[in-house]
C-alpha cells in the first residue's frame, strides 16, 4: 500500500496507454507539423497568397536541379516560358538559358506574422525575375504551395474553434438536462431533436444564405465557424444528457450536495469530468466534420472567397475534369484534407481505446 510515488490520475494512466499506440503517435506528429506549418505560413511560403502572375497560369510544378553538367551544384531551377503548340494548346517550355539559384532566408513579399509582427523573410524562394512553383500554379499563376499553407490556417483552425464552441454548448445543455431532468430535460431534448431532424448540409446552406453576403473575409470565417458549431452540438448534448442521468445518482454527487456546493459547480466539477472519457474522443472524431463542412461550403462558393485561400476553395478550381487532366496538381489540397481527417480519426480511435474502461477489459481478455 505504501508507495513514494504520487498516485497517477486517470488521465495520466490514459496518456501512458496512448503513447504505446504508434499509429496514433505518428498522427500526432503529422498534425503537429501541419498546424506548425499553418502558424508559420508567412515564413514557410515563398510567395504571399495574393501574389499572382497571369502569364504563368497553371504552370506545372518546377523541377529543382541539383546537377549541372554532371557536377553537383547548389540547387537551382530553370526559367519557364509559356508557348502555344500548333493546336493552340498551352505548353510550358523550359528555358535552359535562364538559371535561378534557390535562395534561403531571402527577402520577398511583405507580410505581418500572425497579423502583428511585420516581416519579409521567406524560408526559400528565387530571385523575383523567376517563378518557383513547388506544387504548381493555379489559374492566376499563384503558387499553390503558398496558398495551401495559408489555406491551412483557415481549414485547420475552423475545426478547433468550431469544436470548442459546439462542445461547450453540448456539454452545458446535456449537463443541465441530465442533472435536473423533468421539464428542463424535456424542453432541451426536444430542441436538440429539432436540430437533428434537419439534414445537416441543407441546414448549413440555409443558415449560410440567411447571413449577409456582404461580409468581409473575417466575418465570413466567423459566420461559418458559428454555423458549423450550431449544427454540431445537438447529438453530443443527447449523449452527455444520458450519461448525466446516471451520474447524478452517484453517491459523490450526493456528497457534493451535502457539502453545500451550488448546482452549477456540481455539474461542471463533479458530473461533466466523468463524461470526458467519452467526450474527448467524440471531440477528436468530430473535428474532421468541421474541416469537411468548411471545405464543402467553400467548394460551392459559399465559404471563404478568393483571393483568400482555404483548402475548400482551392479545390473549387478542380471542379472541372478538363482542368484536372490539364493540371492534376490542383488536387493537392484534397490530399491535405485527406491527411488531416485521417490523422484526427486515428487519434480519436486511439483515445477511445485508452479512455474507455470497458474496451480496456475486452482488450485484455
Amino acid at each position: 500500500m505504501m508507495h513514494d510515488k504520487k498516485s497517477l490520475s486517470e488521465f495520466q494512466i490514459a496518456l501512458r496507454n496512448f503513447k504505446k499506440n504508434r499509429r496514433a503517435l505518428l498522427s500526432v506528429y503529422v498534425l503537429f507539423i501541419l498546424y506548425g506549418a499553418a502558424v508559420f505560413a508567412d515564413f514557410l511560403s515563398p510567395y504571399s497568397f495574393k501574389n499572382e502572375d497571369r502569364s504563368y497560369s497553371y504552370c506545372p510544378p518546377t523541377r529543382v536541379h541539383f546537377m549541372k553538367e554532371g557536377k553537383i551544384s547548389w540547387p537551382f531551377i530553370y526559367g519557364i516560358q509559356l508557348t502555344f503548340d500548333e493546336y493552340h494548346k498551352r505548353v510550358y517550355k523550359i528555358n535552359e538559358a535562364q538559371k535561378y539559384p534557390l535562395r534561403f532566408f531571402m527577402k520577398g513579399d511583405e507580410y505581418k506574422f500572425l497579423g502583428i509582427i511585420p516581416g519579409s523573410v521567406h524560408l526559400f524562394g528565387v530571385d523575383s525575375s523567376g517563378r518557383f512553383y513547388l506544387l504548381g500554379a493555379d489559374s492566376r499563376g499563384r503558387d499553390l504551395f503558398s496558398r495551401i499553407l495559408y489555406g491551412a490556417r483557415i481549414s485547420l483552425s475552423i475545426g478547433l474553434i468550431g469544436v470548442l464552441i459546439s462542445f461547450t454548448i453540448g456539454l452545458i445543455v446535456g449537463g443541465v438536462a441530465g442533472y435536473y431532468g423533468g421539464v428542463m430535460d424535456n424542453v432541451l431534448m426536444r430542441l436538440c431533436e429539432m436540430f437533428m431532424m434537419i439534414p445537416g448540409f441543407y441546414l448549413l446552406l440555409a443558415l449560410r444564405s440567411a447571413v449577409s453576403d456582404k461580409f468581409n473575409s473575417l466575418q465570413v470565417y466567423f459566420a461559418i465557424t458559428i454555423i458549423l458549431s450550431f449544427i454540431g452540438w445537438a447529438s453530443l448534448a443527447r449523449i452527455i444528457r444520458g450519461m448525466c442521468l446516471s451520474l447524478r445518482e452517484r453517491e459523490y454527487v450526493l456528497a457534493a450536495k451535502a457539502i453545500g456546493l451550488s448546482d452549477f459547480k456540481i455539474i461542471v466539477r463533479h458530473i461533466l469530468p466523468h463524461t470526458l472519457s467519452y467526450s474527448i474522443f467524440a471531440l477528436m472524431l468530430s473535428i474532421p466534420g468541421y474541416i469537411l463542412g468548411e471545405s464543402a461550403l467553400s467548394l460551392i462558393g459559399l465559404g471563404i472567397q478568393d483571393p483568400y485561400a482555404s483548402w475548400g476553395n482551392l479545390l473549387s478550381d478542380a471542379m472541372s475534369i478538363v482542368r484536372i487532366t490539364f493540371a492534376p496538381w490542383i488536387l493537392w489540397p484534397a490530399f491535405f484534407i485527406f491527411l488531416t481527417v485521417m490523422c484526427f480519426n486515428v487519434i480519436g480511435d486511439a483515445l477511445r481505446d485508452c479512455l474507455d474502461p470497458l474496451l480496456k477489459v475486452e482488450g485484455k481478455t
Binding site: 500500500m1 504520487k6 498516485s7 497517477l8 490520475s9 486517470e10 431532468g181 452517484r250 453517491e251 459523490y252 450526493l254 456528497a255 457534493a256 450536495k257 451535502a258 457539502i259 453545500g260 456546493l261 451550488s262 466539477r269 463533479h270 469530468p273 466523468h274
Partner: protein
C-alpha cells in the same frame, strides 16, 4: 432535557410518491432530539428509514421521496422552510454528513486535497496560501500522519480506513455544529472501527461537534452514544439514554437486535 436542542425532529413523516399505486409512508411521525454536545444514535434494521431520516435533515431526499408533515428545527430555524440558497449555506457549514462508503462519496477524478479545498473555498475565507496548511492540520487532526502525501492522492489509492478518515477531515473542514454519520464504520474492519469511534469522541470533545449516528451496530452505540432511538418500520419504538435502553430493552425489536448482536 436540555433547554435548547441543537436539532429537533417533530412528527416527521416521509412518503414515497408512486405513480401507480397509493403513496407509501417510509418514516411515520418521527420525533427525535439532538442536544448540544451529545451523540445520539438512530438504530434500526435495513429499510427502517434511518438513512431517509438523515438525508431529509439536509433536504437531500431523492426526488421520489418527500416530507409530508412535521418540522426539522436546527438552531431554532425550521429547515423545511429554508430556501435552496439558505440550505446551501447550511450544508457542509452547519450540518455535514459522513457517508457509509467513502470510496463512493469521494469523486474519483480529484485528489483528496482538492476535495477538502472545495469545502474550504465554499464556506470559509481562508486565503489560497492558508488552505494547504489548513488541510494538513485537518488531516493530522483525523489521525493521518502522512498528510501531505494523502492530500495528493486519489481516493482509489487509499485503504478504506484512511479514506474514511479523510472523509471525516473533509466533513469537519468548515467547522460544522452537527455531523450526521450514516453507518460510518460498517465497511471497515474491527480495528479501524475502533479508531474511527475514538476519533468521533475526540472530535466531539475538542471541536464541540454534536452527532447523529445512524447505525445498526449496537456495539458502536454502546461505546459512543449518549442517547439512542430505535427505529422499526419508520416508527421510533423505544428511546432514551443508551445505558437504560441497552440494559433494559422494552420493545421486542430492540431485544431482537440485541440478540442478533450476541450471536
Amino acid at each position: 432535557m436540555a433547554a435548547q436542542n441543537l436539532l429537533t425532529l417533530k412528527n416527521l413523516t416521509i412518503a414515497i410518491r408512486n405513480n401507480v399505486s397509493e403513496e407509501r409512508i417510509l418514516v411515520d411521525g418521527l420525533n427525535l432530539e439532538v442536544p448540544p454536545l451529545k451523540i445520539v444514535a438512530l438504530v434500526g434494521g435495513s429499510g427502517s428509514g434511518k438513512t431517509t431520516t438523515g438525508l431529509s435533515i439536509l433536504r437531500l431526499l431523492p426526488s421520489a421521496l418527500s416530507v409530508r408533515q412535521g418540522e426539522i428545527i436546527f438552531n431554532g430555524q425550521n429547515l423545511l422552510e429554508c430556501s435552496q440558497v439558505q440550505m446551501r449555506s447550511i450544508r457542509g457549514k452547519e450540518i455535514s454528513m459522513v457517508f457509509q462508503e467513502p470510496l463512493n462519496a469521494f469523486n474519483p477524478v480529484f485528489t483528496i486535497g482538492y476535495q477538502i479545498t472545495e469545502v474550504l473555498k465554499t464556506h470559509t475565507n481562508f486565503s489560497p496560501q492558508e488552505i494547504p496548511v489548513r488541510i494538513q492540520r485537518l488531516l493530522k487532526m483525523c489521525g493521518i500522519e502522512d498528510s501531505s502525501r494523502i492530500a495528493q492522492s486519489y481516493p482509489h489509492s487509499l485503504s478504506g480506513g484512511l479514506r474514511q478518515r479523510a472523509m471525516i477531515a473533509q466533513v469537519i473542514a468548515a467547522g460544522p455544529k452537527l455531523i450526521i454519520a450514516d453507518e460510518p464504520t460498517s465497511n471497515l474492519d474491527v480495528t479501524w472501527q475502533a479508531h474511527i469511534m475514538e476519533l468521533f469522541r475526540t472530535l466531539k470533545n475538542e471541536l464541540k461537534i454534536s452527532m447523529l449516528l445512524i447505525t445498526h451496530d449496537l456495539g458502536m452505540v454502546a461505546h459512543l452514544a449518549d442517547h439512542v432511538a430505535v427505529l422499526c418500520d419508520g416508527k421510533i419504538v423505544e428511546s432514551g439514554e443508551t445505558k437504560n435502553v441497552l440494559e433494559h430493552p422494552k420493545h421486542p425489536f430492540t431485544m431482537e437486535l440485541m440478540e442478533a448482536m450476541a450471536l
